[in-house]
């Protein structure tokens, strides 16, 4: 399992944001959260709630699994 040392899930938020040339404040405003919240998620210091994860998924138009990686694998074997 490749979850980081503090047990948080890894994510590709920074990459997805950079692809759209959005600042953290821009993404935060679109999500309805603060710039600090985006930073905390990007740096792996905070795992977002499910509603926020779904919001991210809809905003970037990608499945949640393409944003977050718990290190277990993507074929549904986490059940």
């Amino acid at each position: 399992m490749t979850v980081d040392v503090e047990g948080y899930v890894k994510n590709r938020l920074k990459v997805l944001r950079a692809e759209r040339d959005w600042s953290q404040a821009e993404l935060g405003g679109r999500l309805g959260v603060s710039r600090q919240a985006v930073n905390a998620i990007e740096t792996g210091k905070y795992d977002p709630s499910l509603p926020l994860a779904f919001k991210l998924s809809r905003l970037f138009d990608v499945p949640i699994e393409e944003i977050f990686d718990d290190g277990i694998g993507g074929s549904g074997d986490a059940r």
Binding site: W22, S23, A25, E26, L27, G28, G29, R30, L31, G32, V33, S34, R35, Q36, A37, N39, A40, I41, T43, K45, Y46, P48, S49, L52
Partner: protein
């Protein structure tokens, strides 16, 4: 580059909808905090002035029941109303941080007050002072809030 120069440069960059919303949210939050600070500072100074004047004249500072009830109402209104307003502009990261900080401050109070009380009953220390316990709670809350804010970035 000066702070105002950096701000001018930042402001000259066209901002997206998200950044505008983020600014509006932050502005709203600061307005609420500033309003709460004003509500706290004005009665605080007035009460301090009254108590100070009484102390200077070597007389006890006695509040009228009306004044005490009004102050209690202002306090309750500010804490409850301010809490509701702030919760509307608080995101889940800030909320989690607040929960942790309140939990820390509550634990500090739970440890300190009974210990102090028991030691007082045993004659080891002076009687617990209510305002010191209140200040302890707020200081623990502020310290924990800062710690979690710094740690979470």
């Amino acid at each position: 580059m000066t702070v105002s120069g950096a701000r001018a440069m930042r402001d000259s960059v066209p901002r997206g909808e998200g950044e505008r919303r983020d600014s509006a949210r932050r502005r709203k939050r600061w307005l609420i905090v500033a309003a709460l600070a004003v509500v706290g500072v004005i009665p605080g100074f007035y009460m301090g002035y009254q108590d100070g004047a009484a102390m200077a004249q070597s007389r006890p500072s006695i509040w009228s029941p009306t004044f005490a009830a009004a102050m209690a109402a202002v306090y309750l209104l500010a804490v409850i109303g301010g809490g509701i307003l702030l919760s509307r502009v608080t995101d889940e990261v800030e909320r989690q941080r607040s929960y942790k900080a309140v939990s820390f401050a509550g634990t500090a109070l739970m440890l300190v007050y009974p210990t102090w009380f028991l030691l007082w009953r045993g004659g080891f220390v002076p009687e617990p002072v209510h305002w010191m316990l209140f200040v302890l709670f707020w200081l623990s809350l502020a310290a924990a809030s800062l710690y979690y804010r710094f740690r979470q970035g």
